[in-house]
Amino acid sequence: MTRSRIIYRLIFLFVVFALMITVPFTLTMISQVKRIVTDAPALKAAQDAGQGMAFGELSSRLLDHAVPYIFYILVMAIMLAIFFSRKLMASLNELHRGSVAIRNGDYGITLRAYAEDELAEVIRSFNDMTSSIRLTTSELRKKDMYVNAMLDPLWVVDDMNRLVDVNPAFVGLFGYQRDEILGFAIDLFITENPGAPKRDDYEVMRHNGASTIYEADITTRHGTRMPALISESPILSDGAIIGKIGILRDFREQRELREEIQRSRDYVETVINSIEDQLMVIDRDYRIVSANHIALESFGEKIIGEPCHAVAHDSPEPCWAEGRECPVRTVFGSGTASRVTHRHVNPDGQARYHEIVASPIKDLSGNVVQVIELIRDVSDRIRHEEDLFLKNRELVALNSIAGILSRSLRPDEIFASVLDKMIELMKMGGGGIFFIDEQNKDMLCQYHRGISDEYVTQIGRIQLGQDIPGQVAMTGQIITTADISTDPRVESSMMKNSGIKGYCCVPIRGKERIIGVYCLFSFKSRDFTPEEENILVSIGEMTGIALENIRLYEKMKDLYNAQKQRRDAEQDQLLSLTAGLGSEGDLRHAMGSVLEILKNIFHADYAWLLVRDSGGVLVLKASSSDKEPEDSVIFQCGARSIEDHSLEIRGPVVVSDIPKDTRFYIPAEISGPLYKTAVSVPMCIGEKAIGVFSLYYLNSRKFDDEELHFLKIIANMLSVSLERYNYYTESVAEKGLSAAVLQGVRDCIVTVDTGGKIISANRSFERLSGIRPDGERGLHLCDAVALQNGNRGLGEALKECLDAALSGNTAARESVMVTADNRRILMKIDSAPILDPKGKITGAVNVLRDISREKEIDTMKTEIIRSVSHEFRTPLSAIVGMTEMILDGDIDAKKEREYLQTVFNEGVRLSNMVSDLLSIAKIEGGMEKITVSEVEMKSFFDDLMASVAASLEKKGAVVSCDTGGIKSVMADGPKLKQVLLNILDNSLTFSDRGCHIAINVKKGDNTITITVRDDGWGIPEEDLPHLKERFFRGRHGARIKGTGLGLFICSEILRMHGGSMKIESIAGAGTEVSVNLPITGPK
């Protein structure tokens, strides 16, 4: 629809509709009028008829017709116009709705445009307006919310600084209600802090209405004052400031921080100014930013802003550019502190050393912005260090020389080393050592360095007093010269022209005289400081004394060697004594030798040795003469002899003149020759005197203390040996006894040390285990046992016992052992600790006892009881049950006999079992005997068959018997029958009904073989090896009654006959039992 002005459209519509209605109506009207007009005669007639006013009537009639029509037309036209303009009306309605909503404050309304006309434009504008209002409103709300939610107090003032609005934080901080303070000047609450630092353009900015930040103090309602940071922004309207918005922030912490920083700054400044080192802050351009007063004093006031290198080194370039280490550059480069020592030259030309410690000053992001340099004058220290270094070097050299002197006793080595050290210490080119020849009064070079042998030969001998070395040797004073070529003291032209410059000559001073001189030279001119001269003199003295010491030592050594030789000779004698006594064997012989040696050493004419026997009587044990019968009892009469006396006083007794000394009795044995002197020495162990020996001299002799002491030592040695010999004899006897017991017992006895290693074992152990203690010595018992024949279980059991025993307890275990001859036996191990007299565990003794037999008997007992009780039950059932029934009268007379017969039969069965058991007991006890006689084969087998006939018949068995033409055999008939009955019984028992049994007898060399073969169930393979064991019941035993004794008894009976039994069987196919017997009976 095209856009049109509303009014035009309305009119247009109206006209259209008016025309649409008017045209047909007019046409009708016209025809009506025409009809009326054409009907004029009628009208005329009517008029004529006196109806008058006909035309007027006509007009009136026309009007009457026309008016309603016209009204109708107009209404219709308007209605149609309105109808066709309904969209216009809807738009108007929308607008109305909108105006009502706005009036009610609802800006959420959106009006609908019905047509694309002016009204639609109005509606769009309306919608735009409302949405804009909505946006603004929500924005305002949000802002309001933010303002209210702000933690920082906020206020708005008008252009007169009066409060217009405040947020809740403001209320909270100041304590005033919002309404209370609106309209008041903000200055009442906030006072600008005039002392606080401000930006320079602060006032200008405030004036121009720019945002400003300043510090202020606030006062709350409660009178609290606090610092605050205020941020103020103007509210502009048309470029004019109509008010301000202010935000306040609590500034307490910041202010404290600032004060703190200020204090720190002051403190740092004080520190910096109070330190005695120079301090500078230097920037990246090497310019000094600041310096403390020491630095200012040192370098002048104008250094701030100057480059550091210019100030410190008077150099236009930084240190690094001139090859010096630059701390500033290092710190900027690395970001870490740096320490260097710089040599600065003062304006007065004096060199100073400065130690510079440079540290970085970093900004918040860690970048080095400046460097702080701490400069300390360390000149004195450096100088001291240099001095110290020098001293140290000297000390080291002296020390090493002293070391050489003390280490070595060879003069060659000492002088060569010392010369080298001196050259090294003094930094000389070479040198030599001259020694004084006292006889010739001259000196000869004996050691040299840095000069040729020819040169030394050329120098030759230097007379004392001649040249520098000669002068030094004479005077004992050191001589040094910086340049020998110009020194007037030098006489030898050879030395002058040798090219040597620096030279020193040092005396080698002994205790009382000069021994020689050291000469050191250098090919450069060289000054010697007094300190150096002192050191050289000291070295000279040291080596001199050392040399004298060495000479002294050599002398001492010679003396010592001479003494040593003498002592060795004495020692040899002693050794031969001790060797004689050391052997434990023939003591008597040893004592004889000792006595002989003693006699020789002390040049005695006669010597003897007496020992107290158990009765306290002295018995002659050895003498230097072989005349006396040994073991003859001396001094039986109890007379007092020299020997008695020495024993009494427990010390040596010397009688220098025997004939004159009447105190002592001289025994008849030695009274033959006239002995003049005697010495008697007792042999004691503690307080116990065990004997005495004496030396007799024909001539007078004296004994000094040393000799008596020596004799006492010999006496001690002899007594110890004697005692030991006695013990040894006793212990050998005891040992022999215990060893005999140990070896004799059947039990295995092994002793081990605390480490479980075998110390000894008796023969039983060796025999059973196959372990030879000699071979396995050092091996752990358990390991030895476990390794032998795979006795791991025994090894473990032993280990348990050993562990217990070695921790002081006794223990017992049982374990199977595989013996050396591959038998399995059950061993009982008993272990106990071996304790020394102090109760300390020194090892363990283990007794292994073969308890297989005991165990076997034990098992057998159980087996017998079990098996017998089982086998006895069935026959007992008959005896008990049947007799009970008979007694109860359950059985009539006719049947009673049958019952009694059964009881009897079963009783017999029981009694047979008991016999079997008794046989076993007899066999086991070796009591079973056989009575051999000739057994005639035919009658034997007839009898046998008769015995089994009933059983055979019961089982329906067929038996063939072939005696092979053998007449007789020597055997115990009843027992052989027992064997065969047992075999046959087995065949019948372990076969089905109607089985076949074949008995064959064959003759071999001196033997007969009786074979019983059946076609029964056979014997399972696994049962075969055990058939002859007592109480063995094979697989069939589970359902077949029996004691398991039969075949055992059979094989035992055959064994007694010197025969044997062989059982061959295939399960399911039958069994063949072969009985082998010697024809002539057992041997």
């Binding site: 089982h870 069935t874 007992l876 008959a878 359950d890 049958e898």
Partner: protein
Amino acid sequence: MSKVVVVDDEPFILMMIEDKLKKGNIDVVTVRESVRALEIIRREKPDLVILDWMMPEVSGIELCRTIKQDKVLGKIPVFMLTAKGQDSDEQLGMRTGAQRYITKPFSPKVLLEMVREALSNVNP
């Protein structure tokens, strides 16, 4: 009249039991060969079976197991009457399903009592 089958390889045991039970008005069928036992039990449908353990061919305990595992025969109470007197044997017997385990030697009088008691449970 209740019927009891007795299986034992010892004739005198069978005789004893037969005589005693018959005296107690109980019908007895005796079996000596254990291989035939099962067949006879099936045929006779007894109210009670008394079995020896140790028998050639088929052992009593095997018989007991077979009876107890059989759908029809399983309900028949079984007595083991045996010379095997060890505790372990008895436990095995009871586990196999025997109602009573009687060890030899036994009192026929007591056996009769037991049989009666068992039968009264079967035919009240």
